[in-house]
């Protein structure tokens, strides 16, 4: 770890799927304890950025650094990098064959080598923290979407990652379930977790994010504090995006 380096740094990150270029040289820093909201239309590349950072996708060009160390070199052990990050998926991707508790335990017990008993105690504490006390033995499918997403957040947070990557974590939820999930993220923010948050919730971005980054067709057009990007955007594309959201009643 180099002192003073941002927790995450994306430097000219470029990614294509076949002929379709999804990311065009994305530069972005996320500092210690900082929450950066990635906003932009569907298909603008928000999810791809998060998947590239968690090394679930290989980037074509550029570099990604975690605590000042490059993680996108082929020689880097991807498993070790992923163990220092926590990713939460839009569709939760909970393990349906495991109990709620074991969903949280699996990663820390098998991936991080934590003793089973200790891992279970950690998992129980986390479930209680996110309002899921006593649900440990349930099947995850029996729970509401909001509860499932909070389990997914607990699962990603269980190993105390250096940074958390949240991919549209409220997009699959019924509106009345969004609040509890946002509350869980607020909790992480208060605890000082470094976060990169792809989101459609502008109110939430304004409240929790230290900075907002607007992504348009794979390019970061504007990065800055929420009050300037969301209230007084400099770029015409940002204005257009926010106006469309406003018309759709999403702000």
């Amino acid at each position: 770890m180099s002192p003073g380096a941002p927790v995450l740094r994306l430097d000219g990150v470029t990614k294509s799927f076949g002929d379709r270029q999804v990311l065009h040289g994305v530069d972005l820093d996320v500092g210690e304890h900082e929450a950066v909201a990635l906003i932009g239309a569907s298909g603008s590349g928000k999810s791809t950025i998060l998947r590239c950072v968690d090394l679930l996708e290989e980037i074509d060009d550029g570099d990604i650094f975690l605590d000042g160390e490059v993680i996108t070199e082929p020689s880097v052990d991807a498993v070790a990098v992923r163990r220092r990050l926590g990713l939460v998926f839009q569709a939760y991707n909970l393990f349906p064959h495991l109990s709620v508790l074991d969903n949280v335990v699996l990663g820390i017990a098998k991936g991080h080598g934590v003793e089973r008993e200790e891992a279970e105690a950690t998992a129980r504490d986390l479930l209680a923290r996110f309002g899921l006390e006593g649900r440990g033995d349930d099947d995850p499918d029996r729970l509401s979407g909001g509860q499932q997403q909070r389990i997914a957040i607990a699962r990603a947070f269980a190993a105390r990652p250096r940074a958390m990557l949240l991919d549209e974590v409220t997009s699959a939820l019924d509106p009345e379930l969004v609040g509890d999930v946002l509350e869980a993220i607020r909790d992480l923010k208060t605890a000082g977790m470094t976060m990169l948050i792809a989101t459609h919730e502008m109110t939430f971005a304004r409240e929790v994010a230290d900075r907002v980054a607007f992504l348009h067709e794979g390019r970061l057009l504007e990065v800055g504090p929420p009050e300037s990007v969301l209230s007084d955007p400099a770029e015409p594309e940002t204005k257009r995006f926010l106006r469309r959201l406003l018309e759709a009643g999403r702000v």
Partner: protein, 281 residues
């Protein structure tokens, strides 16, 4: 309001009662008709004596039932081998590492070849072919004398090879049925590829293919009878053959068939229940 409700309930009850009565009457007429038709047909006494001879049945059933115990043991052992072999082949076929390429190729060839050969032919080929290898060559040496020559072992190997190929494909379908997001989530919580396979992908794959696996169990249970053709003595079908050939009465075959049904029908019912349970959840 309550009057109409009672009226409708009564109408529904009447309709249900009428339906029940019609079903019962129609069953009695159809089944009874078939029974009468069979029992009064001129050929029936001959058929009864040939296949359903009570004396023949009680004389031979004991020996056939004893022999069926061998079928059950062969089935149990072969099934365990098939489950392990099938999973191993399926995992090799889905492995993406470049070093695995030759193994992937071999596993692919294995499934195609052994699924394509009739099981009866395979039993014959291995049951008679392998013992021929184990005997002395022209110069008197016996380099392959370590090979098994017991017909029941060879028959079991042939069945395992044949069903292993089927079951490998069932497992492979199961592995493919696990959503890609499960693999991503497993890696994201810090598991290695191997751990992801072991703790996340394979358990879900096996759960998804329970019914088709059970279906192959039922088929295997019946095909154990094939080892009779390579002279496995004390096997139920073979025992029935011996009893039947003594006097050309085929009641022993029916006795053997009943024994197979005693095992396969409960399994089929279990399968039905399992699939219904799955459909509900």
């Amino acid at each position: 309001m309550t009057d109409r409700r009672a009226e409708r309930a009564a109408a529904r009850r009447r309709r249900d009662r009428r339906g029940l009565a019609i079903a019962a009457a129609s069953t009695i007429i159809v089944i009874g008709g078939i029974a009468v038709l069979i029992l009064t047909s001129p050929g029936w006494p001959a058929v009864r004596d040939q296949f359903f001879n009570a004396g023949e049945f009680s004389d031979t059933f004991g020996d056939i039932a004893k022999a069926f115990w061998l079928d059950v043991r062969v089935f149990c052992i072969v099934e365990v081998v098939v489950l392990i072999l099938g999973l191993a082949v399926a995992l090799v076929r889905s492995a993406r590492a470049p070093a695995m390429f030759p193994f992937r190729l071999l596993a692919t060839i294995y499934t195609h070849v052994f699924r394509g050969i009739p099981t009866v032919l395979l039993v014959y080929l291995i049951g008679f072919g392998v013992p021929a290898l184990a005997v002395a060559t022209e110069d008197g040496s016996t380099p392959l004398s370590w090979l098994p020559t017991e017909p029941v072992v060879l028959g079991g190997i042939a069945l395992a090879l044949s069903y292993g190929a089927y079951v490998a494909e069932v497992y492979r379908a199961g592995l493919n049925s696990v959503h890609r997001g499960q693999h991503d989530a497993a890696l994201a919580v810090g598991l290695t590829e191997t751990q992801a396979l072991r703790h996340v992908i394979v358990p879900q794959a096996v759960r998804n293919v329970g019914p088709p696996l059970l279906n192959d169990f039922i088929a295997l249970q019946k095909d154990v009878a094939l080892i009779a053709i390579i002279g496995v003595t004390g096997e139920a079908f073979r025992q029935a053959q011996i009893a039947a050939s003594a006097d050309f009465n085929y009641t022993p075959m029916v006795a053997a068939a009943l024994l197979y049904l005693c095992v396969t029908i409960p399994m089929a019912m279990l399968l039905d229940r399992w699939e219904r349970g799955k459909a509900r959840s």
